[in-house]
């Protein structure tokens, strides 16, 4: 690529999250350097101290919770040509959605005990519930292979659509022994692939960290877990862990 061609400017922002997804990017090594031929990172707290307000692509990490965060993300939306919800806290609401099980008072009491007079609990939302999001990169944490794939595709102007098939597909292609065949349970069948069946490949259950499919087999999965002795409450908890915000939004939509 010729030197005079303008590089795409990328900035990273974090909200309510652990910054684990940004941290993933520091593991990219040579792939990261390859990308730098086409883009310039202008703001990235995990690895640099400078920052800039001039950027084309904004990677927004974390859920939006407080009024102040809403304003900040709106500003980012105004500045950026493309907004990417990066990681499940941003793309789904993620584990932060669990906070919705509690009232403001309860949440403050649990988290900020003793300091709750001046700290705010906020209401966790995925980024797209506050501003328009152009692309989603799911995962807790995000998967670098998918991030690279998405960025390449976005730079080519094709945009990025995450897979709409379940984790099981990637799991079976690797010829893993299915957890259900070992008497364990797994959320793989209803969860969006793209992680390469990360957890089942290491013998761990899928927690649905990448969120539910567009049309998950909720009934089939519920009957299945029931057969394995799970109660409806256990099952709700399994679906809720990463998908609480989406489930709430669906309930809301049904009411209307």
């Amino acid at each position: 690529m010729s030197e005079d061609k303008k590089k795409v400017r990328i900035a990273f922002f974090d909200f309510a999250d652990c910054e684990g997804c940004q941290l993933q990017l520091t593991y990219l090594n040579e792939n990261f350097l390859g990308l730098l031929e086409h883009c310039e990172i202008v703001s990235f707290r995990e690895a640099m101290s400078e920052r800039s307000d001039e950027y084309d692509i904004a990677f927004v990490e974390g859920s939006i919770t407080r009024k102040h965060d809403e304003e900040r993300v709106r500003k980012i939306r105004e500045n950026a040509k493309i907004v990417i919800a990066y990681g499940s806290c941003a793309s789904l609401g993620g584990v932060n959605g669990l906070r919705r099980r509690f009232s403001d008072e309860e949440a403050k009491e649990i988290v900020y005990k003793g300091r709750d007079s001046h700290l705010e609990a906020g209401w966790p939302r995925p980024v797209h519930e506050v501003v328009k999001v152009d692309h989603f990169i799911h995962g807790c944490p995000s998967n670098n292979d998918e991030t690279i794939k998405a960025v390449k595709s976005i730079l080519l102007g094709k945009g990025y659509t995450p897979p709409d098939y379940p984790v099981c597909v990637e799991c079976k292609l690797k010829e893993n022994v299915c957890l259900f065949e070992k008497g364990q349970v797994c959320m793989g069948p209803v969860t969006r692939a793209g992680c390469g069946a990360w957890c089942p490949s290491w013998g761990n259950t899928c927690y649905s960290c990448r969120g539910l499919l567009d049309d998950p087999a909720e009934q089939g999965q519920t009957e299945l877990l029931e057969k394995y002795g799970y109660t409806i409450d256990d099952i709700t908890e399994k679906f809720d862990l990463y998908n609480r915000c989406r489930m709430d939004a669906e309930k809301e939509a049904e009411k209307k």
Partner: protein
């Protein structure tokens, strides 16, 4: 062609002989199941096994494979050739050999798939006859795949302290000719021994499907609108796609382009796809021809028991039982087919 004996004690030597000129893959244990994998010697394999998680088709149509490379802006492909060293698939069950014959029909039909063809040519099949049914999920008896018929280079049958080897191709004959561990014997005597062994074996194989071989396709002809059965299956199915990934006769794939980091070009590849996935029958504009899980499941069954019979005059179910074994929702091929047959009687 001909029959020879191999002493059981010489099995390891047989593998060593094969390894002189081939890559050898065979069933090996993986946790509580089995997979086909590379072996370095006879001691690595588990010849007494139930069908592997994924069938050995993975060596001829890999889960993911490159179809070639391209440069940006150009409408041509380069480096489309593939490399495959001569490979022996050792210990293949007769049902999986039948599965490969199904894929051969599909991929060799004009215009033949060059990638499949090239790999297939480099594969030697050494089968291992089942003397017991593997478990309650197999339906090989009805599908008539439980006795060796064709499709292999060599077939091994357990005969006590030795194996009977049926040498069935030039390739197989060359292998037997290259070793001194095989014992020649009177051909009629071996044939008689084999016949006796099979007479003892067959009663152990029980039929699990109520409709017989000849009744199967006619049953499907009448079952398309048996909504009771298809809706029940559709309700339970979680669309994980496992049943198709593990099926020895499923061959659908998706084509993708992977662009290099410097964006100067990339690679075109293909990866296994599944008719059980929501996106499979979706076309431009968003229309989906099989949005309902029930219609996707029905489609799977028809792709085994009806469409290929019309098109290729062959069932595309080998009776291996993998789809039932792998289904976490416990959707059973045996139950589904028997339920369809029941419904038929009711009408």
């Amino acid at each position: 062609m001909r029959y020879v004996y191999l002493a059981k004690d010489d099995l390891g030597k047989f593998i060593d002989l094969l390894k002189e000129k081939h890559r050898v893959v065979a069933p090996v244990k993986k946790e509580n199941l089995f997979v086909f994998a590379d072996i370095s010697g006879g001691e690595d394999m588990s010849l007494e096994y139930i069908p592997t998680i994924i069938p050995p088709k993975k060596y001829i149509m890999p889960q993911k494979e490159s179809l070639g490379k391209f440069d940006m802006g150009e409408v041509s492909m380069k480096d489309t050739s593939i490399e495959m060293e001569p490979t022996v698939i050792f210990g293949m069950h007769t049902c999986d050999i039948d599965g490969l014959e199904c894929l051969d029909v599909v991929f060799h039909k004009d215009p033949a798939d060059p990638y499949y063809k090239k790999r297939r040519k480099n594969v030697t099949i050494i089968g291992y006859e089942c003397m017991f049914p593997c478990d309650e999920y197999a339906t090989c008896v009805t599908m008539d795949t439980h006795v060796p018929k064709a499709g292999y280079d060599i077939m091994m049958t357990d005969a006590g302290d030795k194996y009977i080897l049926h040498v069935n191709s030039k390739q197989g004959d060359a292998i037997i000719g290259s070793g001194n561990i095989f014992k020649e014997a009177d051909q009629d005597a071996i044939k008689k021994e084999l016949k006796d062994l099979r007479e003892k074996k067959l009663p152990k194989f029980k039929r699990a499907l109520n409709p017989g071989y000849k009744e199967l396709q006619p049953l499907f002809e009448k079952s398309y609108n048996n909504t009771g059965v298809w809706d029940d299956v559709g309700r339970r199915c979680v669309s994980c796609g496992n049943c198709t990934a593990v099926c020895p006769t499923c061959y659908c794939f998706d084509v993708y382009d992977d662009v290099k980091l410097d964006m100067s070009g990339g690679e075109r590849g293909r990866v296994w796809d599944s008719c059980q996935l929501n996106e499979f029958a979706e076309v431009a504009g968003g229309e989906n021809f099989r949005e309902e899980r029930s219609s996707r499941q029905r489609h799977r069954y028809y792709r085994k028991f009806d469409y290929p019979v019309r098109k290729h005059d062959k069932f595309f179910c080998t009776g291996c039982g993998r789809c039932t074994r792998t289904c976490m929702a416990k959707i059973s091929l045996i139950e589904t087919v028997n339920d369809l047959a029941k419904g038929e009687q009711d009408v």
